[in-house]
Amino acid sequence: MTGVQEFTQRTRRTVDGSVSCLQSAVCFLGKAMQRIVSFFRNMFSPVQEQRLSPEELRDAFRKRYANFRSLLTANNNALQAMAELEKLYYGSKGYRMAVVRSKITTILVNVYKMISNLLAMSDGKYKDLETVFERISQDIENIVERRPVLHQGPMVLPLDEVKREVRDQVGEKMANLGEVGAIDGLVIPKGFVLTASATRHFLTDANLAEINRRLQVLDPDNLEDLYRTCEEIQKMVRESPLPPDLEELLYVHYARLERGTVPHCRVALRSSALGEDTAGVSFAGLYRTILNVDRDSLVAAYKEIVASKYGARAISYRRKRGYRHEDIEMCVGCLVMVDSLVSGVTYSRDPGEEESEVIRINATAGIAKGVVDGTTITDLYLVSRETPHAVVYREMRQDQTASALTYGQIKKLAEAALRLEQHFGAPQDIEWSIDHQGTLHILQSRPMLTVKVEDSDDDDNRTPQVEEGGEAPFMLGGICASAGIASGPIFRVDTTETMRRFPEGAVLVLEHPLPDWAPLLSRATAVIAEHGSEAGHLATVSREFGIPALFSLPGAMAGLVDGEIITVNAGSRAIYRGRREDLLRRRTVRKDIMAGSPVQRIVTEILQHVTPLNLNDPASPQFKPSWCETLHDITRFCHEKSVSEMFNFGQRHGFDQAAAKRLVGKVPLEWWVIDLADGFREGINIEEKTVRIEDIVSVPMLAIWKGISAFPWQGPPPVSVRGFGSIIFQSTMRPELDPAVASALTVKNYFLISENFCNLSVRLGYHYAMIEAYLSDLLTESYVTFRFKGGAADLGRKAVRARLLADVLETYEFRIELESDSLLATLKKKPTEYLKQRLQILGYLTLHARQLDMVMNNSGTVGQYRDKFIADIEEMLACCTTPIFGESGHAGEQETAAR
């Protein structure tokens, strides 16, 4: 092979997409020169005398066609991105702003391309579109770029001045703690809060811009990348100097604490983030708490906590729950350390049951950190909510002979819990310490996450249960930290290195349920740990995400082998071998974890400017740029006008007779054919307004036609009452759907053809279908695409129909993309004969899918139709040996011929 040949081949092989289309357009133009010359003479002669050379004429045509093709590609891309955005929004998985942003950019850029192409095709006729587009994209931009309003205030507030009212300065946690301090009889540590204004003073705009840039390019699914970026950002925060005025204030307030307690007092620095106000979002354990800080390390500890906003856990959590980083502002509480004898966590109602009448107390000797970290084994007490707060259940899990709490302490804790619940008006999750003098200090009180337990039958946490039927569990025991059933392969994680290799959908097995493993919860189906309790952060987050978690299961790390598939039923504290479908069926749907988040609110607003379609009827006087309200409207308008521009092109230049011809003969429905080049038999009369199928030489069109005419169309089948009701309803909502007002244009079906190219748009009032094909001897250039959308009836039934078509097409090896009721089926790089057969199938389906409008009401019917379609197609393909050319196209005859 010579170098030149090789070069040419390579070029062809890599050419794809719009470029190949452009080349295709050039290819099929070759033979039709004479006709095109006369075409352009007609076009230009009335306006100007200038004679153009054949090359220049060909160029002009090629340009127009290239614009048309590029508009269609942009249309597909825009609709695809819109569907993807909707899928994110309606889907059950979390999504982050960067993805939303990229979808929006894709939509905007492609809509912009469509407008440019249409303007180029129509000599700037629809210039108003630019204004409309400008307005809509500006609206969207404003929504996307909107930032939370930040209130300026003092940089430091003493805790005894803190109330709920200043929570937009001090964050949720410290605002609540300030409230607690004001309640008669409850004690909180002395302290002060470094407010959001302080943080903003510390982190400059330049810092924030750099942080945002790094977060933007981060791929959060790549743990390697996530950890590296987080480390870099945190390092940056740690190394930024604290402004001198802030540093001075910090020391002034510390000195005040010393005066109120003892000199050189130790303090605890606690995060208190702002903007975490969505119900059902815990943000548990995401940020740092640093204990035992002295004066010398005060500044470093403060920076450390501000930096913890950019910890890996926090970033992946925000992402999953729909928070942008700028939605969260970090405030820092500085509290005098409590010299604690015993510490723990109290739930004012046992989270295991919905209307529980017991208080749950987890306690451990010393400080409370181990309880919430999941590193310490705790004693569990269930205490009656009624005075005198009898202990109804007690579990001594610590290796101690004595109970951690005395009855007096338990009573005190129960009273405090009820007091706090009463004050805040909801069950509380309380962190506390009791000092050596016996004083109870409340360190934190926040609303409890009310997670509905999925399997209430199995929720008895105290006695492991054995399932009925099937193989018995091979491991039993532990503490149910989050109820639920899930299955997957085992993957044990003990180092950051193994953490990074953690596969999607595996069961996470740990020694300690440290909060550091939390990023894995977005990929794990269940969590098992040898240690830990239901009070830890990882337990809280598991419950929140609805992931089953079984903790304190002895021998889990040793007894579970990597890669083995197991089924975990956390509620009954049991682990089974293999995938137990019988158990998994009991599972309930995971909740919408994005609900109410800032990102979801943004997408809700954006979608209003993107997806609703107001322009439906091209014949309506409102079908013009000024009536476009959404990007979808613009795409619809551009698409419609581009087709008619190709069609009107001739008309405007005195070429109407040849531009669109009606297909005549005994053909079902109304079909129009526009010849782009070489699509008609040589020697036909261009002046005729009609064309017969025998006059067509476009290979792809003939293949489609063969499918259309293979079986007679029987008209719509009888309508079920429910189906009809739904159509009537939609027709009332959208008048253009009413068959009685359908305009002439909406019922026309257009073939745009050349010898090797065909674009068929079928717009039959209720639904829209498009087949496009280019058949070339070069495999890389050949393609078939099929789009299908809409139809009468509600979205549910539309989706069922699209699914049915997808099923059938999948049988014939089409690549399917299905989003709700919008279907895209493609084939590329296949031999011509193969593609011709597929076009025949598409022709058949396009015609017969119409029948489905009224009958998609039960799954039985769906199956029946799918079987009938496939049977028909098989029959049609079996008799495919008859030559394609020269057939009559008459449905009845075709059928006779087939038999």
């Binding site: 070069f7 390579r10 070029t11 890599t14 050419v15 794809d16 997409g17 719009s18 470029v19 452009l22 090359e55 160029d59 942003r101 990229s102 929006i104 950019t105 894709t106 905007l108 850029v109 912009y112 391309k113 440019s116 994209s137 969207i140 931009e141 996307v144 770029e145 945002n212 840039r213 933007q216 390019v217 791929d219």
Partner: protein, 142 residues
């Protein structure tokens, strides 16, 4: 992949060097520039077919660089790279005549495809100009 010249303009050293290396591995001739000014200098002095241009850069930003490239080398195709950029800059770039845009982080395959498409467009454009010139020369009486 056909061999053509790509200039990668990005202020992030790691990203730029890696991209250049990966493109070279796939048979392209790739160069890197750390900013708009440096990019324009390279364009001035060496042959470039396609520029991969980061929108967000300190100093002369991507949009301004694009504007200059369009004036200086109108035939060179530019593929924009947007990361932390606002939604708007994608559109602004298209208005200024960028070939297309890509989102960071990018995968190699779509990048190669996009660069190939851009080069193809440039080649067709150039062919057309050359043919027109050739015709003019031929039609001129010698």
């Amino acid at each position: 992949m056909r061999e053509f010249n790509v200039l990668v303009v990005d202020d992030e050293d790691e990203f730029r060097d890696l991209t250049v290396k990966r493109l070279e591995k796939r048979g392209l001739k790739a160069k890197g520039a750390a900013g708009g000014k440096e990019a324009l200098e390279i364009l001035e002095h060496s042959h470039t077919d396609v520029v991969l241009l980061d929108v967000k850069m300190p100093g002369m930003d991507g949009i301004e660089t694009l504007r200059q490239i369009r004036i200086m080398r109108p035939l060179v195709e530019v593929v924009l790279l947007t990361g932390h950029a606002s939604v708007d800059s994608g559109i602004e770039g298209m208005k200024l005549g960028a070939f297309d845009y890509l989102m960071k982080p990018i995968e190699l395959e779509p990048l190669l495809e996009k660069l190939g498409d851009a080069y193809e467009k440039k080649r067709l454009h150039q062919d057309k100009i050359e043919q027109a010139q050739m015709k003019r020369h031929l039609s001129m009486p010698s």
